[in-house]
Amino acid sequence: MENERKLEEFQQKIDANIKIEPKDWMPEKYRQTLIRQISQHAHSEIIGMQPEGNWLTRAPSLRAKKILMAKIQDEAGHGLYLYCAAETLGVKREQFLQWLHEGKAKYSSVFNYPTLTWADMGAVGWLVDGAAIVNQVSLQGTSYGPYSRAMVKICMEESFHQRQGFEIMVQLAKGTEEQKQMAQDALNRWWWPSIMMFGPHDSESAHSNQSLKWKIKRESNDELRQRYINKTIEQGQHLGLTFPDPNLKFNEETKNYDYSPIDWDEFWNVVKGNGPGNKLRINHHIKAHEDGKWVREAAKAYSKKINLSKKIA
């Protein structure tokens, strides 16, 4: 059959590490998986602007304010690259946003947690961006060309974010007693959510196998999670803070850090959008989008007029 032959050729290309480009033939399921994954990634960048924007007007120094503002701007830029990459699969940005608003598209649940103190700007940069990098570095090798290239661009900036977040943690951990407490509290609240960013265990993951075979994902959730934990614990040792897990221990045999079982009840609750965080984030986005409707209409009408007058002239 025609389709089977195409599918075979497609898999051969994947196995030979040849990137798939927008105009190439691809299985419908490959396309759908990418549409879901890239748009989810784009939404995460955009929704992630909110918990950080929450502290932008309260950043405690000019330098901190500048760094945070530039970081949030980077995230908007990441969202833009990723929407563009996702659009190459034949869906328009307006549609992606509609799916987001209707709850049909997801974003990383970690952004449903509130940012309660300034230390959260440190913990989010260090842990959330830190976890994102591990995932994104791996995705540089993804089989879909536009997605892979977007990841290369994004990773450079993400490592800045992580370093800047860590810098805030260092400053607080070495600061006054109150600042130190603030840092510890933020670590306590963000550690587990950042670990959960890698998704369910490999044994429970719905999409993993086919995605690995098509090289949409390059490594499994658990492999990535373990790499993140190892890396982060090494960094955190210099802070003089305590990770909120009594069972964290280096395992000489596996050369990995062992950790306590993950609270999957919490994970699925947050993924399903229970709790106020999800509604807050989505409503914020919907409101901004609706408030901007007249502006987008004006821009459209104006460019029509300009094009018309160019044609006449």
């Binding site: 602007m49 600042q179 007249w294 209409e297």
Partner: protein, 250 residues
Amino acid sequence: MKDELIDYCLRLGDSSLILSHRIAEYCSKAPILEEDLAITNVGLDLLGQAENFLNYAAKLKGNTTADILTFKRREGDFRCLHLVQTPNTDFAYILARQFLMDSYHQILFNKLLNSKDETISGISKKAIKEVNYHLDRSSDWIKRLGLGTKESNDRIQNAINNLWMYTDELFTDNSTDLSMEKNKISPLSSNLKKEWSELVVKTLRDSEIEVPKDVFYSLKYGKDGFHTEYLGYILAEMQHLPLLYPDATW
């Protein structure tokens, strides 16, 4: 003269600082993602300008820093213009405020290139490149909104009408202006008016937006340390951490 020079730097620094703060409030609320990026760019530039002027003010004052001036100064010691204090009512207000300030900044910084004070001319030299881009962007949007739809024209007209009175302050001289002019550090504020009007009136007319009548708005201005009711809330938010933890460094 030194006191007046400090006062003048605070005026420039505080105005950029507070405008940047208003932009920061707007983070993640723009009509399209591209505008989120563009407006944050403007906010970052303004923050940089603020930092430069406040650093200079701090150096002149001695025994203080730009951060102390930003986070530990009392409201009455701020010198920002009333216009930058006005709230983000909607995109039209944000844009109108930006356009009025961008055009003012462009004309002002161009003049300050010739300031006898080298620090001020140096800061202006860097700022003017940024401000040219800001004005391009805001003028483009004025046109889009003015010529776009009936609704957008109504909204931008309304915003311009309501913000117009605040432009009075931009061109009113106080004792600091007189001293700056005498010492060839800056032109009189009143001397900027003609050029500014020509620039602004042209863009507004081209965009089918009516130019409001000038009104004599107030005897007391932000640059004299008399503020709108808005500023207190801005500062309460901006300064709360350093004030709550006075011994901490950030």
